[in-house]
């Protein structure tokens, strides 16, 4: 008995030892496995984030020589009408394109979730813009919008309307870009929402139908609450994507276009100052402003979600 007890203790010690060595082995493996990603992110993202904020307090000349200039970039930023206008354009782009885009994607997703034929073909067609190069999309829309030879103005002329200058009228150009923006991400959001819809158990609908709930009632009391977490994801990513709009404006609105002022976004200005004018200090200040705007809006979104997003 005693002997047995001693033996047991010894075994216990060994296994304890084994366990600690196992633990250390685990630590080592964990660090090895996260190392490439974490080191990569620190070099390529975390340090650059800090550096951009530092740069925004510096004047940087064409040879990347930095000189501390305190708040002067920020003073310039807040007094710069171009920046205010670009901020307004960016917010307008987001406020208009996100709700319309999300609602349209939801409508298409709900329709595709019904038991209909040809689902795959519809999905492929709606998704096509997502896999197309942004430059190609921008160029073909520019051509469709062309005020003299464009297809849109020709179609309008058939019903007796003189088509506008879609991209060079300062009042219209942002809206024209918004239409393309909605068109190009609709399929992407639709796919995500469709996946969310497919997770809703069919039995919920059957029960509601037995209770006599019509399709609209079913949508608002079953579909919408159950898909709301996916909607929240789509809304958040669309807002962040909208605030970063660049490609379409860069490609569709020429530098000499009179409508550029009322169309250019913050990221467009960031690009212009950082890499065309080569004032990387001021460019950093502009992108820091964008960061602040995105963080504020995201925090507000997470606060607001409690009002409309239902987690089971």
């Amino acid at each position: 008995m005693i002997e047995g007890g001693v033996k047991m203790k010894a075994v216990g010690k060994i296994s304890e030892k084994k366990q600690t060595s196992r633990k250390f082995q685990d630590y080592t493996w964990a660090y090895i496995m996260i190392a490439p990603t974490i080191i990569g992110l620190i070099i390529l993202n975390i340090w650059p984030l800090i550096q951009t904020v530092i740069l925004s307090f510096n004047t940087v000349d064409g040879f990347s020589q930095m000189q501390w200039s305190g708040l002067s970039n920020y003073k310039k930023l807040f007094a710069d009408p171009e920046v205010w206008q670009a901020t307004l354009n960016t917010l307008k782009y987001t406020i208009i394109s996100v709700p319309i885009g999300v609602i349209l994607s939801l409508v298409v997703a709900v329709l595709l979730n019904a038991n209909i034929k040809g689902k795959t073909i519809y999905r492929v067609i709606y998704f096509l813009p997502v896999v197309s190069a942004p430059a190609a999309i921008a160029m073909v829309w520019k051509w469709l919008y062309n005020s003299e030879y464009g297809l849109f103005n020709y179609l309008l002329s058939l019903v007796g309307i003189k088509g506008p200058s879609w991209l060079s009228d300062p009042k219209l150009s942002l809206l024209s870009v918004i239409i393309v923006g909605i068109w190009s991400v609709l399929g992407y959001n639709m796919i995500i929402l469709l996946a969310g819809l497919q997770e809703i158990p069919k039995t919920f609908y059957e029960a509601a139908e037995i209770d006599g709930a019509g399709p609209i009632r079913r949508f608002f009391s079953i579909t919408f609450p159950l898909v709301s977490p996916t909607m929240f994801f789509v809304v958040i990513t669309s807002i962040i994507g909208g605030l970063q709009i660049f490609d379409l404006i860069f490609m569709m609105v020429d530098r000499t276009n009179a409508a550029l002022q009322s169309t250019q976004s913050l990221v467009y200005l960031f690009y212009k100052y950082s890499f065309v004018i080569n004032d990387k200090g001021y460019g950093s200040t502009i992108v820091t402003l964008l960061l602040a705007i995105i963080l504020i809006i995201t925090v507000i979104q997470f606060k607001l979600q409690k009002k409309w997003v239902h987690y089971d």
Binding site: P36, T37, Y122, P129, A133, M139, W143, L151, M251, L290
Partner: protein, 275 residues
């Protein structure tokens, strides 16, 4: 009931077809215009079927710009980004999902921070890094910002969490170390997740315009995204040639998508539902 259903189905189809037409119209117009002569393209009223199929636009554009280099650069950029980011993300994701280690939360914060911050904030310092390494105007410059992926790590972590722990407990008792468990047991089980990240990485690299515009300014080092953008500078308003160039640029990805559409769609779908 049956009747009612089929009636509402017809309405659904009509709405979907109108939508599908709106989605396809720009592509159709791209093809039609790319086959017109310059004079025909500026005719009013426009023709909907080109009088003569002017294939010449395609050869003109092909000869004007190094499209072969654009293809190769795009392919290499996507290939290296996929290999590195998928492999590194899977490794890190496994560790975050299954191993307890000191500092785990702090390290995971780095992942979350990267995901929450707009990408443009990193661009100037990334450009300075690439420039200091002497990588400007090379495929390396296109690859560098994409070799690791916070998003991929985050998504694959969700996949690993979804796999029952029992599957690896047996392997632990057999004396397998963490790497063996990861490589031999867990990795094969997350194939769909790996494919999703691969597709996502490829799509992101393919659609990114600003980065290649900044780092690779010499034309034969450009990927399709920025190469195509430079076309507009050259041809300004010769829309038949611009459309021919666009067609040359977009078809490889369109074909890939049509072949692998199931994987594409599942991959994109998984990014939303797991959050």
């Amino acid at each position: 009931m049956e009747n009612n259903n089929s009636k509402s189905n017809i309405i659904v189809h009509i709405i979907l077809i109108i939508g599908a037409f709106a989605m396809l119209l720009p592509f159709l117009w791209m093809i039609i215009t790319s086959l017109k002569t310059l004079t025909e393209s500026t005719q009013v009223p426009p023709t909907f079927i080109p009088k003569i199929f002017n294939i010449g636009n395609y050869s003109d554009v092909w000869n004007q710009l190094p499209f072969a280099s654009f293809y190769v650069n795009t392919f290499l950029m996507m290939l290296f980004r996929i290999i590195f980011s998928v492999f590194f993300s899977a490794m890190a994701a496994y560790a975050f999902a299954r191993i307890e280690f000191p500092g785990k939360n702090a390290f995971f914060m780095i992942i979350l921070i990267q995901m929450m911050i707009p990408g443009q904030i990193f661009i100037i310092p990334q450009y300075l890094i690439v420039s200091k390494l002497g990588l400007l105007n090379s495929v390396g410059a296109l690859v560098v910002p994409g070799i690791v992926s916070a998003f991929g790590t985050f998504l694959l972590r969700q996949f690993f969490i979804g796999i029952p722990v029992e599957l690896e407990e047996a392997a632990v008792l057999d004396g397998c170390n963490r790497w063996q468990i990861f490589y031999k047991i867990m990795l094969p089980l997350t194939k769909s997740g790996l494919v999703a990240i691969g597709i996502f990485t490829a799509l992101f690299a393919w659609k990114d315009l600003m980065w290649p515009l900044i780092v690779n300014t010499s034309i034969e080092k450009m990927p399709l995204a920025s190469g195509l953008a430079s076309l507009q500078g050259q041809y300004a308003t010769n829309f038949p040639q611009l459309m021919a160039g666009s067609m040359i640029a977009i078809w490889p990805m369109l074909i890939l998508f049509i072949i692998f559409q199931k994987q594409f769609i599942q991959g994109i779908a998984s990014t939303g539902s797991k959050n």
